[in-house]
């Protein structure tokens, strides 16, 4: 029987979307690539520092297995282990592939790939192209996709926005509804499968390190259509960004990977020129509190430390909530070669030269570990079945997700330089499975009655007509800013249940005001306003998922920190004690005297907490809000234990 001619719609032209497109094209399957803008301008270009792969070119003894351990430990053991492991094992292959595609990775004297250090690990594991690694990776993939475009396998629909999936009576995704952002019309595209590679939701905070397209709207739309959304409350706050009215610009972790040091003046109110402050009056708090990892502790730890130093101990530079990120001890040529991109950004936006003056930085919303729930198939030995159609499929059959929009690789906190890896890894992983899914379909897209697509289009036509008729008093852009302010105040580094409850009320208020929005521009041609109003609606729902997930999760895990539920790890606690404790427990109750004072009690607290909370949060849309439930995490490979970085 001849195979049906297949077509897959990929939404999003960042690293995940492009690598999925490229991989699917290699199976000679047609792809319609839908993107909000030319794919070359996707948010992945903002990734700066690098991409992880344990190639161990420095003789440090690194291996993919250690990379895997660092990743799950960094994520506070909330990641599904077979997947995280497979990703880390694929890392070297992915780097070699990107290298073959021409990515201008920095090289060693011998001409091999160079690697640098990054947070949450003790190994030089991060391949990098200056400080614009994401941009370089996107370009290489964009180029490969352009090649497939020339060969007629890819049709690009740039300036088109995903609105929703076309789901048939059996709940199977049969296509996508997209909105032409130029002409303003809406079209329903029939497809055998749809991939969402639409990135993160940073824009719900209005000001973050994310690009303006990162509204999370596509993911929220899938959630509103019944897809499960997982681990929403885990939002990574990057410790180092610079302020701006429109955006908080990231200063890559690679600045610390290349020797950057974080400090504040030891004495509050010390307003001296930072270069005039002598070493003994500088408080290198990360180095002092975490002697082993120093400035390269994971991001959740670093952000919390900065938060503590500037808010609780009032040591922020000039009384402001900022700290110094100091690179002035490194030679300017070295900085130019290895960090040129971010040095340039800092110079352009602040007018100061980081090779002469310490940078002033503070934490900013950066990444969502959570996202659409997706499936995978493990063979029971900790291996991922690479050909399974279940890999990366959301809870809506035929609707897949890859990249930041999915949830399962980074647990409760992502390690730096792992996001580029997970984007490309998931994009490539989707390929074989999704093609098999299409082959296994009972009927191809051509056999689906056109009335299904007509109906989907009609629904969205009506929705947009309704939006254009909105003629209330609220300005959608101003309301978005308020939504962002609400979340920035309450759902950030340190979370309190009282405030989270208030936030849920606040969100209800914002939703009520949403109904009173005025659609400022009702024209058809290249009009972003109706589209933005629709995104705002989705952002409100996404904010509920995050806030409610955070409210219900009464513990501290990775980026989710509630001081009330801090287990208070004793000083000098060694995580191996916990493994020892688990082992001894099998032979009878552990004895207090086997451990330093207080340790056993802590381990018991920890164990109880793991029992209750080491679970994936699942949000499902019910009664205009998220219904939260929990699922088990696949812990088949490594025993979860307390994290420690000093």
């Amino acid at each position: 029987m001849p195979r049906r001619e297949k077509k897959i719609v990929v939404i999003g032209g960042g690293l995940a979307g492009l690598s999925a497109t490229m991989k699917i094209c290699e199976f000679k399957v047609r792809v319609t690539l839908v993107s909000f803008q030319p794919v070359k301008r996707s948010h992945s270009v903002c990734a700066q520092g690098g991409i992880n792969a344990a190639i161990d070119t420095k003789g440090e003894g690194d291996s993919p297995e250690i990379h895997f351990y660092d990743t799950v430990k960094g994520g506070d053991f909330l990641a599904h282990q077979p997947l995280a492991r497979d990703m880390c094992h694929q890392g070297p292959a992915i780097i070699r592939l990107m290298d073959r595609m021409g990515v201008a990775f920095n090289r060693t004297a011998e001409g091999h790939l160079d690697f640098r250090r990054f947070g949450g690990t003790l190994y030089s594991r991060t391949a990098f192209a200056g400080a614009t690694t994401g941009q370089q990776l996107v370009y290489a993939l964009d180029e490969q996709v352009r090649r497939h475009e020339r060969d007629g396998l890819v049709q690009k629909l740039e300036w088109h926005e995903y609105l929703g999936a076309v789901v048939d009576g059996a709940g199977v995704c049969r296509g996508a509804v997209v909105h032409d952002l130029r002409a303003g019309n809406i079209l329903a595209i029939a497809a055998d499968a749809v991939v969402l590679a639409t990135g993160g939701p940073g824009q719900i905070y209005a000001r973050s390190t994310n690009s303006t397209v990162c509204t999370g709207s596509a993911a929220a739309s899938a959630y509103l259509q019944g897809a499960k959304y997982a681990n929403g409350e885990f939002i990574q706050i990057h410790p180092t960004a610079i302020p701006g009215q429109d955006k908080l610009r990231l200063m890559s972790e690679s600045a610390r990977g290349e020797g950057g040091r974080i400090w504040v003046p030891r004495n509050p109110g010390d307003n001296r020129d930072p270069l005039k402050i002598p070493e003994e009056d500088r408080y290198y708090f990360l180095e002092e509190n975490h002697p082993l990892f120093g400035n390269l502790v994971p991001r959740d730890v670093a952000s919390r430390e900065i938060h503590d130093v500037v808010y609780n101990r009032k040591l922020g530079v000039g009384g402001q909530p900022t700290v110094y990120l100091d690179l002035t001890h490194q030679p300017p040529e070295f900085l130019e070669r290895r960090l040129g991109g971010i040095i340039d950004i800092y110079r352009k936006f602040t007018g100061q030269d980081p090779s002469r003056v310490p940078m002033k930085i503070f934490p900013a919303v950066h990444y969502s570990m959570g996202g659409l729930w997706v499936d995978y198939e493990s063979d029971g030995h900790g291996m991922v079945d690479h050909r399974s159609p279940r890999n990366q499929m959301t809870s809506i059959p035929g609707l897949y997700a890859a990249g930041e929009v999915d949830y399962q690789y980074h647990g409760a906190n992502r390690l730096g330089a792992n996001s580029l890896l997970s984007c490309i890894y998931t994009g490539l992983l989707i390929g074989p499975g999704i093609v098999r899914y299409c082959d296994n379909l009972d009927k191809g897209r051509d056999a689906v009655p056109s009335s299904l697509f007509d109906r989907a289009k009609k629904e969205w036509d009506n929705r947009f007509a309704e939006i254009k008729r909105m003629n209330g008093r609220e300005n959608p852009y101003a309301l978005h800013r308020e939504l962002g302010d609400l979340l920035l105040t309450n759902v950030l580094i340190v979370r309190e249940n009282k405030k989270l409850l208030e936030t849920l009320d606040g969100l209800d208020g914002i939703e009520a005001r949403f109904k009173d929005i005025k659609c400022l521009d009702t024209s058809d041609w290249s009009n972003p306003t109706p589209s933005f109003i629709n995104q705002l609606y989705n952002m409100i729902h996404l904010s509920r998922i995050i806030t409610k997930g955070a409210l219900l999760r009464d513990e501290c895990r990775g980026a989710h920190y509630k001081p009330e539920f801090d287990l208070n790890q004793p000083d000098r606690f060694d995580p191996h004690e916990f493994i020892d404790y688990l082992e001894k427990k099998q032979y009878g109750p552990p004895r207090e005297e086997d451990y330093p004072p207080g340790h056993l009690a802590y381990m018991r607290r920890f164990e109880a907490n793991e029992e209750e909370w080491l679970k994936t949060t699942i949000a499902q849309y019910k009664n205009n809000g998220p219904e939260i439930s929990y699922e088990a995490v696949d812990l088949s490979l490594v025993t979860p234990r307390p994290r420690k970085y000093d």
Binding site: S19, R41, H112, G130, L428, N475
Partner: protein, 249 residues
């Protein structure tokens, strides 16, 4: 220099071919403000200086840190990225116009598909065998890598073309960005295998020979890409290719 308010004079156009018109907006001046944050402020309060409520201005932007290449426009007459245009160091009023060398879509949005089309014409990619793991890429010196990296930062923003006197809305000149990309791909050991095809692609109408060496491209490039060096390099390569074609073909 701090001001209490700033004025933005924006050239608007409702659709391709429609008659352009101007709107002036007065905004409070905020710390760290850039042209983008001003445009966002206009979205939140789309009222002109003379009190008229208008539709929000439309423009393209994404990363807001000068790596995506979206927000190119003419600011006080000069082409640049709007995100790095800090309000404090701009002359008041700030005049915003769309680029003049690309068809206007709406307001400050233009259609730059010509640039992407050119990337296709020059076969702007490395011809890899496939995405499966077939081992390491070619080993080559860091010096060459550095050269390539300088070129690979081109974000297809269009500044070099807008400022180029030889590049117009109606002619078919490819422009500096494209020539520089030819050089970029030809620098890579694998890319060099298809060197001739790329050179031939710019030895045509609108190709490298049309360059008038005004060298404004390199002055306005936000990424400081050595565009004129690329042009001369491709000039040399195409000259040699021409001689080869004359003698060997």
């Amino acid at each position: 220099m701090t001001r209490e308010t700033i004025a933005l004079k924006i050239k608007r156009q409702d659709a391709p071919g429609a008659k352009p018109y101007w709107n002036v907006f007065k905004l409070p001046s905020l710390p760290h403000a850039n042209v983008i944050s001003c445009l966002q402020e206009i979205q939140r309060n789309p009222v002109t200086a003379d009190g008229k409520t208008v539709t929000p201005v439309t423009w393209d932007c994404n990363c807001l840190e000068e790596v995506c290449g979206s927000c190119t426009m003419r600011i006080n007459g000069r082409v640049r990225q709007a995100c790095t245009a800090l309000v404090d160091i701009l002359e008041d009023p700030i005049v915003l116009e769309p680029m003049s060398k690309f068809p206007v879509v709406r307001d400050l949005q233009v259609d730059r598909s010509r640039m992407f089309e050119n990337l296709r014409k020059i076969k702007g990619w490395i011809e890899i065998d496939g995405s499966y793991d077939i081992g390491e890429g070619p080993v080559f010196p860091e010096k060459i890598r550095e050269k390539a990296y300088a070129l690979s930062q081109c974000m297809t923003c269009g500044c070099c073309l807008e400022a180029c006197p030889q590049f117009t809305l109606t002619n078919d000149f490819m422009g500096a960005a494209t020539f520089s990309q030819v050089r970029y791909f030809n620098l890579h050991p694998t890319g060099a295998m298809n060197k001739e095809e790329r050179l031939e692609a710019v030895m045509k109408s609108g190709g490298i020979a049309d360059c008038g060496n005004a060298q404004v491209c390199v002055e306005v490039c936000p990424k400081k890409i050595p565009l004129t060096e690329s042009i001369a390099e491709i000039g040399r390569e195409t000259t040699l290719q021409l001689l080869k074609n004359l003698v060997l073909k």
